[in-house]
Every structure is written in structure tokens, then in C-alpha cells.
């Protein structure tokens, strides 16, 4: 409570300042729930390198078992001696599996996986900070990292050992193991996620039987992230792994992979925290398009569907991704998508947020995109012209105006005649648009009248109700034999449409009395 900043004094306790005050500790224990009773004191075992080779395996197993003991790291004063013994033992084990050949005998596998599972698999604790913003806030670090790091290190060395045999290991490193590993990707500690990334990648490489399963589970994690929780810390890491997995897909792409692209990767763009994994996501998308260019159209249409409406930062990211896609697009694909795409780009160019407008205008600095535009200038120019012309006169930001002039100049050089035509018809076009707008309004007004007259029709037809007689309207000469309750529902439905009109319609009832 001692250090209250001046701004907080004025502001009172917003939730953030409450949290800050409370958030003194930066690390947290894993939510190990009464897994074992108080740790027994460890006693040091002899060094592996000093043991005769006949006893080495036995000692190796003993050390693995010793490392299954878990300690409370939030309490920094207890079990100091035992903690140190475990740390040294883990170090020795890491050393042992990375430098020695022939140590991975079959009987060691279950002991090894058991030690690893006991140490790393745990229910992740609740986040200290419920509105954790990975961009702003410091992550909470895992308290038992001094041990955990060595266990991860050991797992990695184990997988990378030249004697490692997937055929034996698959009995222990199975679907359940992988599933638990995947859940750990939600850890707030970036050091842990980094290890997990490398480890999962190794497992994916070595266990062919687990590949489909891993992909499916990642799928599920992403879907849950997109549609249910909107919270998962390891999206970027998982996408990074996927990037290299996609790279290795055989052609033609399986339907499963295409579905993953369209139903998982594209909707991932809607996530609030897109900034945290956008680079990896865009990489995955582009990988797909390089494999199979025919996917370009659905992908771009998907991005246009999810185009950010209010978040300018995200819009800039989307534009960046579009440019990456355009960099690798085939001219035939470009033709298929140019119309909807440039309609969006023309909106971006006219965006009042200068970063969005600027990012879109930078497309004209890209030689390849310029060549695509030039090839299709008769299609692109009419779409772009209106916005550019207007912006060149109206945008508040001088840099944007300057950029727009350059773009207009480039476009003019591409097709001078078309440009002149568009310039001269600009005013007429605007007026036509306005007129269309008016016509729409009138259509709706007419429709409204039509509905009113129909509503009264329905009302008048319900002879069963004594009070419903309408003299205000003139088309009560139609008679359908509709049911009595129709009157009620028609009213009810109309109510949802437009409160004001319903008032008029229902007012007619008391009037008639």
C-alpha cells in the first residue's frame, strides 16, 4: 500500500491498480493438488560416472525415481538441501543421456516417462491476473522452474538420443502423454512454452502414428480458443510448429488439411489477441497457398468476411497478410479475386486512421502488385478511383494525401483514357449513388405502408375478438379465414420490427371502441 502513484490517487481503485498493488509476487507454484504428503528428505546417491557399468542401469533408475519427488518452490526456505540434491541429480541425468551411448535400454523407458510425467504434467494454476494482457503485462513465471527446466531439458535430450527407439517409446509416449503435453502450452511462462514447442516438434517428427492425433488435438485447442474461451497462451508456439508441418504436406492436399485451413486458420483471424500470433498465422496461410494456389480465392474471401470493422491495429495486420498473399499469388488467381479485394482495399485507403490508409497505399510500392494492377487496370481503376479521388481532397493527414497523389499518378500512367473518363464522370456517379439511396428509402417506406395495411387486414379478419375493429384504415374489405390468434402474433411480430409503427397499429384498437 506504500507506493501509490499520483495518478492512482486521483483515479481511485480501478481494477488494474488493485491488481498491481496485489501483484507483488511474480511467480507461482503449479497447482499440484495434494499429490503427495510432505517431501521426504533426499539423500545423495553416488555419481553415475563412478559406478561400475553393471550397476549403472540400476543407479540410473534410482536417480530417476529420486527425481519424482516434488518440492514447494513458493516456500523458498524449506527443503533447501533436498532441492539442491534433486537439481544436481537432474543435471547429471541430462548429462548422462546426452553424452553416453547405449544407456537407453528398454526397461528405462517407463521410468523415464514416469519421472517426466510426474514433474511436468500438472493442472496449470489460475492466472494471477484474470485480464492478463500478454502485450502489456508481465507473465507469471513458474516457481519450480529450476527443476522443471532440467526435466524439459532431459526430455529433449532423451528424444534426441541416437539410441532412442520410437517403437519402444510409443508405449509410453502415447496419445494421453501428448494430450497432457498440449495442455501445458497454455502455460503463462514463455520459457516453458519454448521448450514444449521444440519437444512437440520432435515427437511429431519421430512418432508417425501420433501425427494425425496431434493435428486433431491442436485443431480442438484452436477451436476452443476461437469459439469458447478466447484464451490460450500457446497459440503462437503451436502455429509455429504447424508452419513447418504444413511445409511438409504432400500434394495434392488432403481434404482434412484444406478443412483445417478454412475452418480453423481463417477463423483464428477473428481472435482479440491476434497481434500475438499473427506473424505465425500469416506464415501458415501463405505456406498453404504456395502448396496449392487454387486455395487463394477461398482464403481471401474468408479474410474479407472476417475483416476487422473497428480495430485499426488488426486491419493493418490484415493488410500485411494480404500483401504477403499477393506476393505469391498467381495472375489467374488474382483475376478471380480482384473485385471484392479491391473494394476492401479502396475502403482501407479511405480509412480515417492514417496507419490503415498508409498500409494500404504501400501496396503501390510493391513491384509485383503493381504489375498485377497494370494487367487488370480496367477492372481495378474504376473500383479504386472514387475513394482515391475523394481522399486526395479530404484526408486530414498530409502524408496520406501525398501518397494518394502518387498512387493516382501511377494509375493515370497505366491507363490515361480510362482515368480521364472516370474523372469527368465522378460527379455524375456520386449523384447517381445519392439518388439510389433515396430510392431505397422510398422503397422501404412503401413496404412499411404495405405491411401496415396487411397487418390491419389480419387484424380485421379475426372476427372472434370483440374489441378489434379498425375504422382508421381503408382496406378492410379483404376477408381470409385465418385463425383468431393470428391477430396477436401479427402484432407481436410487428412489434419487433418497429416500435413506433406498432404503436399506431395497436392504438387503433381503443379508438374503435
Amino acid at each position: 500500500m506504500s507506493a501509490i502513484s499520483a495518478s492512482e490517487k486521483v483515479d481511485g481503485f480501478t481494477r488494474k491498480s488493485m491488481r498491481k498493488a496485489q501483484k507483488q509476487r511474480k511467480s507461482q507454484g503449479s497447482s499440484q493438488y495434494r499429490t503427495q504428503s510432505a517431501p521426504v528428505e533426499l539423500s545423495p546417491l553416488p555419481q553415475l560416472k563412478d559406478a561400475p557399468s553393471t550397476e549403472q542401469q540400476e543407479l540410473f533408475t534410482q536417480k530417476l525415481q529420486q527425481c519424482c519427488m516434488l518440492f514447494d518452490f513458493l516456500d523458498s526456505v524449506t527443503d533447501l538441501k533436498s532441492k539442491e540434491i534433486k537439481r544436481a541429480t537432474l543435471n547429471e541425468l541430462v548429462d548422462f543421456v546426452s553424452t553416453n551411448r547405449g544407456v537407453l535400454v528398454e526397461s528405462a523407458y517407463p521410468e523415464i516417462t514416469n519421472m517426466i510425467s510426474t514433474n511436468i504434467f500438472r493442472a496449470l494454476p489460475p492466472s494471477d491476473n484474470p485480464d492478463f494482457d500478454p502485450e502489456e503485462d508481465e507473465p507469471t513465471l513458474e516457481a519450480s522452474w529450476p527443476h522443471m527446466q532440467l526435466v524439459y531439458e532431459f526430455l529433449l535430450r532423451f528424444l534426441e538420443n541416437p539410441d532412442f527407439q520410437p517403437s519402444i517409446a510409443k508405449r509410453h509416449i502415447d496419445q494421453k502423454f501428448v494430450l497432457q503435453l498440449l495442455e501445458l502450452f497454455d502455460s503463462e511462462d514463455p520459457r516453458e512454452r519454448d521448450f514444449l514447442k521444440t519437444i512437440l516438434h520432435r515427437i511429431y517428427g519421430k512418432f508417425l502414428g501420433l501425427r494425425a492425433f496431434i493435428r486433431k488435438q491442436i485443431n480442438n485447442i484452436f477451436l476452443r480458443f476461437i469459439y469458447e474461451t478466447e484464451h490460450f497462451n500457446g497459440v503462437a508456439e503451436l502455429l509455429e510448429i504447424l508452419g513447418s508441418i504444413i511445409n511438409g504436406f504432400a500434394l495434392p492436399l488432403k481434404a482434412e488439411h484444406k478443412q483445417f485451413l478454412m475452418k480453423v486458420l481463417i477463423p483464428l483471424h477473428t481472435a482479440k489477441g491476434l497481434a500475438l500470433f499473427h506473424a505465425q498465422l500469416a506464415y501458415c496461410v501463405v505456406q498453404f497457398l504456395e502448396k496449392d494456389p487454387t486455395l487463394t480465392e477461398p482464403v481471401i474471401r474468408g479474410l474479407l468476411k472476417f475483416w476487422p470493422k473497428t480495430c485499426s491495429q488488426k486491419e493493418v495486420m490484415f493488410l500485411g497478410e494480404i500483401e504477403e498473399i499477393l506476393d505469391v499469388i498467381e495472375p489467374t488467381q488474382f483475376k478471380k479475386i480482384q473485385e471484392p479485394l479491391f473494394k476492401q482495399i479502396s475502403k482501407c485507403v479511405a480509412n480515417p486512421h492514417f496507419q490503415v490508409a498508409e498500409r494500404a497505399l504501400y501496396f503501390w510500392n510493391n513491384e509485383y502488385i503493381l504489375s498485377l494492377i497494370e494487367e487488370n487496370i480496367d477492372k481495378v481503376l474504376p473500383i479504386m478511383f472514387g475513394s482515391l479521388y475523394r481522399i486526395s481532397k479530404e484526408h486530414w493527414n498530409p502524408t496520406i494525401v501525398a501518397l494518394v497523389y502518387n498512387v493516382l499518378k501511377t494509375l493515370m500512367e497505366m491507363n490515361c483514357t480510362l482515368f480521364d473518363e472516370l474523372t469527368s464522370s465522378y460527379k455524375a456517379d456520386r449523384q447517381r449513388e445519392k439518388k439510389k439511396e433515396q430510392e431505397r428509402d422510398e422503397l422501404w417506406k412503401k413496404l412499411e405502408e404495405l405491411r401496415l395495411s396487411n397487418a390491419t387486414l389480419v387484424q380485421n379478419n379475426s372476427h372472434g375478438l370483440p374489441s378489434v375493429q379498425n375504422n382508421n384504415n381503408n382496406n378492410n374489405n379483404n376477408s381470409n379465414n385465418d385463425s383468431v390468434n393470428e391477430d396477436k402474433s401479427a402484432d407481436g411480430a410487428a412489434e419487433t420490427v418497429d416500435g413506433k409503427d406498432t404503436m399506431e397499429a395497436s392504438e387503433s384498437t381503443p379508438c374503435a371502441k
Binding site: 490517487k9 385463425s483 402474433s489 411480430a493
Partner: protein, 589 residues
């Protein structure tokens, strides 16, 4: 006009189609939101034959548009010709129920549930149930999740063969390999159990419940806890021990804190559902464990339930259970390391006093209240103070007043204005409980100090507080204690304080009555009309307007009117405006 009539019947659908294809989402959205207009204009038959097929075929749009569509269709029964034809709404809703976006899908399911009630039993079997089956066996997880919400609405109204099929489908979805589907099934398990025959609850639901409660994903397991409440309510007492309790015990000790949190959060419901005997034998130790959980989230959720849990204990040995089992845990929570836990406890702990009675409260609870009143976290202290009324009933507040005072004073001077605001709001309550003497002696100065707080919201709340105090203690008290001090501020060099005088007068005049207002307040207000600060002057005008109705007509005519007339000729625009407004409102023109 006669010629136009013919076109009229054609163009609504044309408009809709045109608008639905518009580039602008907003326009598409508008036209979907007016769908019932279009349907009404078209009439029931053309709605069925033209509009609905069109909607079914063209469903690919922004989720926002789809959401509006899904909602509209739920109210469409009459627009397609009544219950007889309601089944023609199923195709578009079916495709909406398979959409990825959860909100759209949920809305489609909601609409389907709504119109299912309008189906005749025959239509339900011929049209609705096949749709549920199709969804339940869909390829993509979205349709299967949607199906989960539809079983319970059709089950009670179909034949026994179809019922058997529905049960089979539900069973399949409970073991779906997509966790999203299992979550959907788990969340509907309780609802489905309620419509099933008791025998099937025992044979089917229990095994599904057990399986879901030990799912590999904690997000599924925690939903089973919710279902547990409904299932336990349905079963006869003698079956609970064998069918439900093993699973519940396991959930209370789950390795994932989320599941334990859920148990803590649903504890009162669970307690009611399993009855007093099981509560005594099983839930009491489980509750103790939750109160001592290693995760603060779980402890806080459990702490929130302390009062309700104790209240619902069987009366015969309630006191003994609380004293020997619950209270020791509560004592520990008072000094918990996490402020959310302490604050959750503080919001309910006072409620225990009514359950335990006077002697126990004084001996055991009072020390805890006092400790919490001294807690470093203001929220904890506030929660205690805001619940003082419970203790007041049992032991009288005097017991606490010695510790209460320092706590109140400290909160009253807290650096954060929201804390100060919160304590002001409890002042009238405290004043009522502590009595006028204690108040005058200890708290009155605080209340006056708030009037010159540097935060406007505090000054405003302080004004309002004075009014409530006067309502409580009466006009005479006001005249002796408050009014002189308030009026004294009219000469303060700070114009903000001078304005506070006016605000106080606005608030107090009615409670103080005509006499005090005319004799003491009015002269001060009138004098302030010569203030050099325009803000004060126009607030004088506002005040006069406000207190006018309390004054007699004599004072109005002879004193208020001239002053307002003078102000209405003020050089400041705002002063003029408010003076003129007051003249009109008080009808002095």
C-alpha cells in the same frame, strides 16, 4: 393507384433480394431485421413458397446478419400460417444451427427449441426429430453441438421407439471424440435427465454422468458438476449414495482447480439436492477441504458459500457442526494471504451471527469481525461495515463500536475516493444503528469534512448523506448540528465550498421544512446572489427554483422574486438563463 397494387405484391421480395445482395452489411442487416415486415407483406403462402426457400439457399453471410435471421425465424410461426405449417421453418434454421460462430448457432437452437413447442406430436416425429438426428450425426462438430440442445425439447412428446433413438443419440454424443461436443452434451445432461423416465435416469444418465465426470478434459468434468445438481434432485434418497456420491466425492478432490472451483460454486445447490444426511457425512468434510484448498480461487468461491452452507445444515446439530468443523476453517480464512478470499468471507461472515446466537457470536465471531475491521485491504473492511445490520440484530452494535470507529475513520480518509464514497453510502445505516449520541460525538465531524473533499463525487455524496441523516434524526437535530455549519461555509473563500452550501440547501430544504428554510437558509441564499463568481450566482438561481416550493408565497413575492429579477439582468449568460428559468418555473413572471 390501382395499377401499383399489382406490383405491390411483387416487390417486397425483390427489395429483399436486392438488399440482401447489397455490399453494405448494414443494409443487409436492416433488411433481415425487417424480415417479418416482408413476410407480412407477402402473405403466408408466398412466405412459405418463396421467401423461406430463398433464405435457405442464400445462407452465406456475415455472422451478424445470420444472427438476426436466426432470431427472426423463431418468431415466424404465424407468418408462415400457424402451427400447421411451422415445420417449413426448419430447413433455414437447420443450416443456421451448423454455422461455426457460436452466437449464431446458439440463437438458431434457441429458435428451434421455441418452435418445437408449436409442432404437433405428429409433426414433431415427422419433421423435427429427423432434423435432430441429422444434426446429431453431422460431420462437423458444430451440428453435433447444436443437436445436444434439442433432445430434451422433443423427448417428452414422441413415441417410445423414437425416445429410444433419442437416448441412443445422446449417448453417442456424450462420448464424441471432439471435446466441444462432449462439453455441449455435458452442459445439457441435467436438462435431459429431467425429461427422462426415472428408470432411464438410473440406467442411462448415471453412466453418462460418471463417464463425463471422469473425462480427460477438465472443461468437460466441470460441466458434469452442474449436471450433478439436477440428477441428484431427480433420484430417490436411497439411490444417491451409490449412484451420485462416488462421482461427487471425486469431483471435490479433482486434480484440476477448475473442477473444484465449480464444486465450491455450486455447493449450496448440491447441498440441497443431496439432503441433510449426506450433507452431514460427506459434504461437511468436503467443504472443509475446499475452504483449505491450495488455490485462492477455490477458497474464495467456498468462502462465499459459508453462510448459505451453515444456514442449510440440518437444525438438530447445526451449531455443533459449525462450531467444530466450519468455524476453525473460517478463522484461518480471516488471515488468508489472498485479499479476494478475505473479501469474499467478509461479505458473508456477519450472517453467521444470526445462526449461532448471541453468546457464540460474542465469544467466537466478534474477534473475527474485529480482525477483519483492521484488515489492510479496504474492500474487506467495507464488506464488514456494509453488513453490520446482521450483527446489530443479534448482539447490538455497541459491542463493535470501539473497533468500528477507527475502521470508519480510516476508510473515511482513504487515499482512494471510491473507498471514501463507499463508506459515505453506509453512513445513514450506521447512524441509525449507532444512535444519535454516538453519531454526534464521533461521526459528525467526518460527515462535515466530506463536504469540503477535493473530489466532487464525494462532496455530492456527502450532501445526499446529510439529507438522509436529517430524515433519520429530524429537523430539530438538523437545526442544531448541521445547518449552522453548512451555512457557515457560505463565507468560505473557496467558491467550490460556497457552492456546496447551495447544494446542501437544495438537498435539505424539504427535510428541514418551511420554518428553517425561510428563516435560516433563504437569507444566506439571497446574500450569495451578490457573489463575484458567476457559477455561484447561477447556482443561487437554481437553488431558489429548488427551494421555492417549500417557501410561503409571501417570501416568494417579497424576497425571491426581486433577487431573481436582478439575476435575470446579470452580465453572465448562464446566470441570466437560470434566473429566467426559475422565474418561469416558480410562476413569478
Amino acid at each position: 393507384m390501382a395499377g401499383a397494387d399489382g406490383d405491390d405484391s411483387l416487390y417486397p421480395i425483390a427489395v429483399l433480394i436486392d438488399e440482401l445482395r447489397n455490399e453494405d452489411v448494414q443494409l443487409r442487416l436492416n433488411s433481415i431485421k425487417k424480415l417479418s415486415t416482408i413476410a407480412l407483406a407477402l402473405g403466408v403462402e408466398r412466405t412459405r413458397t418463396e421467401l423461406l426457400p430463398f433464405l435457405t439457399d442464400t445462407i452465406y453471410d456475415e455472422d451478424e446478419v445470420l444472427l438476426a435471421l436466426a432470431e427472426q425465424l423463431g418468431n415466424f410461426t404465424m407468418l408462415v400460417g400457424g402451427p400447421e405449417y411451422v415445420h417449413c421453418l426448419l430447413p433455414p434454421l437447420e443450416s443456421l444451427a451448423t454455422v461455426e460462430e457460436t452466437v449464431v448457432r446458439d440463437k438458431a437452437v434457441e429458435s428451434l427449441r421455441k418452435i418445437s413447442q408449436e409442432h404437433s406430436p405428429v409433426d414433431l416425429e415427422v419433421h423435427f426429430e429427423p432434423l435432430v438426428k441429422r444434426l446429431a450425426s453431422g460431420d462437423w462438430f458444430t451440428s453435433r453441438t447444436s443437436a445436444c440442445g434439442l433432445f430434451s425439447v422433443c423427448y417428452p412428446r414422441v413415441s417410445s421407439t423414437v425416445k429410444a433413438e433419442i437416448r441412443q443419440h445422446f449417448r453417442t454424443l456424450c462420448s464424441d471424440d471432439t471435446p466441444m461436443v462432449r462439453r455441449a452434451a455435458a452442459s445439457k445432461l441435467g436438462e435431459f435427465a429431467k425429461v427422462l423416465e426415472l428408470d432411464y435416469v438410473k440406467s442411462d444418465i448415471i453412466s453418462l454422468f460418471t463417464a463425463l465426470a471422469s473425462d480427460e478434459q477438465d472443461s468437460v468434468r466441470l460441466l458434469a458438476v452442474e449436471a450433478c445438481v439436477s440428477i441428484a434432485t431427480l433420484l430417490p434418497q436411497e439411490d444417491l449414495e451409490t449412484l451420485v456420491m462416488p462421482t461427487l466425492r471425486q469431483a471435490a478432490e479433482d486434480k484440476s482447480w477448475r473442477v473444484r472451483y465449480m464444486v465450491a460454486d455450486k455447493f449450496s445447490e448440491l447441498q440441497k439436492a443431496v439432503g441433510p444426511e449426506i450433507t452431514k457425512n460427506d459434504l461437511v468434510p468436503a467443504f472443509q477441504n475446499l475452504l483449505k484448498d491450495c488455490e485462492a480461487e477455490v477458497r474464495a468461491a467456498a468462502a462465499n458459500k459459508v453462510k448459505e452452507f451453515c444456514e442449510n445444515l440440518p437444525e438438530d446439530n447445526r451449531e455443533q457442526i459449525i462450531m467444530t468443523h466450519i468455524l476453525p476453517c473460517v478463522k484461518e480464512l480471516v488471515s488468508d494471504t489472498n485479499q479476494h478470499v478475505k473479501s469474499a468471507l467478509a461479505s458473508v461472515i456477519m450472517g453467521l451471527s444470526t445462526i449461532l446466537g448471541k453468546d457464540n457470536t460474542i465469544e467466537h465471531l466478534l474477534p473475527l469481525f474485529l480482525a477483519q475491521l483492521k484488515d489492510e485491504c479496504p474492500e474487506v473492511r467495507l464488506n464488514i461495515i456494509s453488513n453490520l445490520d446482521c450483527v446489530n440484530e443479534v448482539i447490538g452494535i455497541r459491542q463493535l463500536s470501539q473497533s468500528l470507529l477507527p475502521a470508519i475513520v480510516e476508510l473515511a480518509e482513504d487515499a482512494k475516493w471510491r473507498v471514501r464514497l463507499a463508506i459515505i453510502e453506509y453512513m445513514p445505516l450506521l447512524a441509525g444503528q449507532l444512535g444519535v449520541e454516538f453519531f454526534d460525538e464521533k461521526l459528525n465531524t467526518l460527515c462535515m469534512a466530506w463536504l469540503i473533499d477535493h473530489v466532487y463525487a464525494i462532496r455530492e455524496a456527502a450532501t445526499c448523506n446529510l439529507m438522509k441523516l436529517v430524515e433519520k434524526f429530524g429537523a430539530e437535530w438538523a437545526q442544531n448540528t448541521i445547518v449552522p455549519k453548512v451555512l457557515g461555509m457560505a463565507n468560505d473563500p473557496n467558491y467550490l465550498h460556497r457552492m456546496t452550501t447551495l447544494f446542501c440547501i437544495n438537498a435539505l430544504s424539504e427535510a428541514c421544512g418551511q420554518d428553517i428554510t425561510t428563516k435560516q437558509m433563504l437569507p444566506v441564499v439571497l446574500k450569495m446572489s451578490n457573489d463575484q463568481v458567476a457559477n455561484v450566482r447561477f447556482n443561487v438561481a437554481k437553488s431558489l427554483q429548488k427551494i421555492g416550493p417549500v417557501l410561503d408565497s409571501n417570501a416568494l413575492q417579497s424576497e425571491v422574486k426581486p433577487t431573481l429579477e436582478k439575476l435575470s439582468g446579470d452580465s453572465d449568460m448562464d446566470v441570466k438563463y437560470f434566473a429566467q428559468e426559475a422565474i418561469i418555473v416558480l410562476a413569478l413572471a
